[in-house]
């Protein structure tokens, strides 16, 4: 399941996120961040639920400070829904139930799901 969360860096952000045909949920994280690590299984569970309508990627803020700055990341974990490489929403919930509910509403709103 881990393979369904694509690690993204400065080098492939354009290809994986900006030019993605479908909305992208970006998880800004760092390996030293406990809440980031405990959120990962939830994102791994969500990925197959939105197969084809949402891509989920993760960005290590230690390795990609410019991306973190571009998305105004103040604390992690930080979840951003992006379209065309630009943020369209920030997700604050952390449970699978709430994240799925929020994503359903956001994707419906965009006519994507």
């Amino acid at each position: 399941m881990t393979a369904q969360i694509t690690p993204v860096s400065d080098a492939d952000f354009e290809a994986e996120v900006a030019r993605s045909d479908i909305p992208v949920l970006i998880d800004f994280w760092a390996p030293w961040c406990g809440p980031c690590m405990t959120l990962l299984p939830t994102l791994e569970a969500l990925a197959p639920m939105y197969d084809g309508s949402l891509k989920i990627v993760k960005v290590n803020i230690d390795e990609c400070p410019e991306l973190a700055e571009k998305f105004n990341v103040q604390s992690i974990p930080y979840l951003v829904l992006a379209k065309g490489g630009e943020a369209t929403a920030t997700l604050h919930d952390r449970s699978r139930t709430r994240l799925a509910s929020e994503l359903d509403a956001l994707l419906d709103q965009d006519g994507q799901a």
Binding site: G34, T38, P41, A45, A89, H92, D93, S95, T97, S101
Partner: protein, 332 residues
């Protein structure tokens, strides 16, 4: 049991268990490992978790391969200890971090490892613990029982029913879960009793098949235990502080709702809180150092009650681990 992954603790080899657990015990005794709710292992002298030390890896697949244990079991056992431990900066301590806590709570760090029956399939332990835990929250003698609304209780009972079917091998169609989740979210919207928020959020978070949710259970459990700890300390506060705590719960809930609204999710927290002046004042007051000091003092007074709840959950988990080695229950 379709969909269930099978495990064999320490690959049935007592010598492997002795070596691996011995490694953890040695580090734990010297406080060179820290209970964490996720796998953490490194070789540069930095902080490591008990499970990371057990398998000398932080790669989940390698952990399973080396130990024959589900990753989520280690995370839960360590998460229980972590929930009852306090940490403070101390340059003389390993990692610059002093850990304190009741001996009975900290002892669980090794207890769960010692309890593992070599060769047992522990794949069902965390889902069974989730069932037992939710059952304990619904019990009439549970501390928050009077604050659980009938709608939330009904949803929780339905979750228990679906988990029982799943764990006994009966198929549960996704539609049943979707319907239950929708009902749980509706039940959570009830603005009534602020002391009921914790249970309603717990119940909505748990409305998924148990085996699939098991890797996500620890943070759900930890959030709930934090809320429960606040509930238990409330009687030790003055009426004024209790009111601040209650109103801040209302304020923080409103803030969460505002964050979910696409129209307002990007707005600053201060602006969102500004819509509810009374709650805004309570949240601000709650954050003040002197309020926090009084709350911490009350927390100390309620510590034995919080530890008691946690210790009972530890006992329940240890029994499930031990029972997994008995032929009559290991297949479930």
């Amino acid at each position: 049991m379709s969909g269930a992954k099978h495990y064999c603790a320490f690959h049935g080899d007592p010598a492997r268990k002795a070596e691996m657990v011995g490694r953890v015990r040695s580090k734990w005794t010297q406080r060179q490992v820290v209970p964490m709710a996720y796998l953490k292992w490194r070789t540069d002298g930095g902080m490591v978790s008990l499970s990371g030390t057990l398998a000398e890896t932080q790669v989940p697949e390698q952990f399973i391969e080396r130990t024959g244990l589900p990753v989520e079991l280690g995370a839960l056992c360590e998460g229980l200890v972590h929930a009852g431990a306090g940490f403070s900066e101390d340059e003389s301590a390993p990692f610059g971090l002093a850990m304190r806590g009741d001996e009975a709570i900290l002892a669980f760090a090794m207890e769960w490892l010692d309890a593992i029956p070599v060769g047992a399939d522990l794949g069902g332990v965390v889902p069974r613990f989730m069932h037992s835990f939710l059952g304990s929250v619904l019990a009439p003698d549970f501390a928050m029982s009077a604050h659980v609304s009938p709608a939330v209780r009904t949803c929780a009972e339905r979750i228990l029913g679906l988990w029982e079917r799943e764990l006994s091998g009966v198929q549960v169609v996704p539609k049943e879960w979707r319907s239950l989740r929708a009902d749980a979210l509706r039940a959570s919207e009830d603005p009534g009793d602020p002391w009921g928020y914790a249970v309603s959020e717990l119940v909505e978070s748990l409305a998924w098949p148990a085996r699939g949710l098991a890797p996500e259970f620890v943070p759900i459990f930890q959030v709930f235990m934090k809320e429960l700890s606040q509930f238990l300390l409330a009687p030790y506060l003055s009426n004024e502080d209790r009111d601040i705590l209650t109103q801040s719960m209302v304020g923080l809930r409103e803030l969460s709702r505002a964050h979910r609204d696409p129209q307002s999710s990007q707005l600053p927290t201060e602006m969102l809180l500004g819509r509810e002046q009374h709650a805004k004042h309570a949240v601000r007051t709650l954050m003040q150092a002197e309020t926090q000091a009084r709350i911490n003092a009350a927390k100390q007074q309620a510590q034995s009650e919080s530890d008691g709840v946690l210790r009972r959950q530890m006992d329940s988990l240890r029994k499930l681990i031990e029972d997994a080695g008995r032929p009559e229950t290991s297949a479930a």
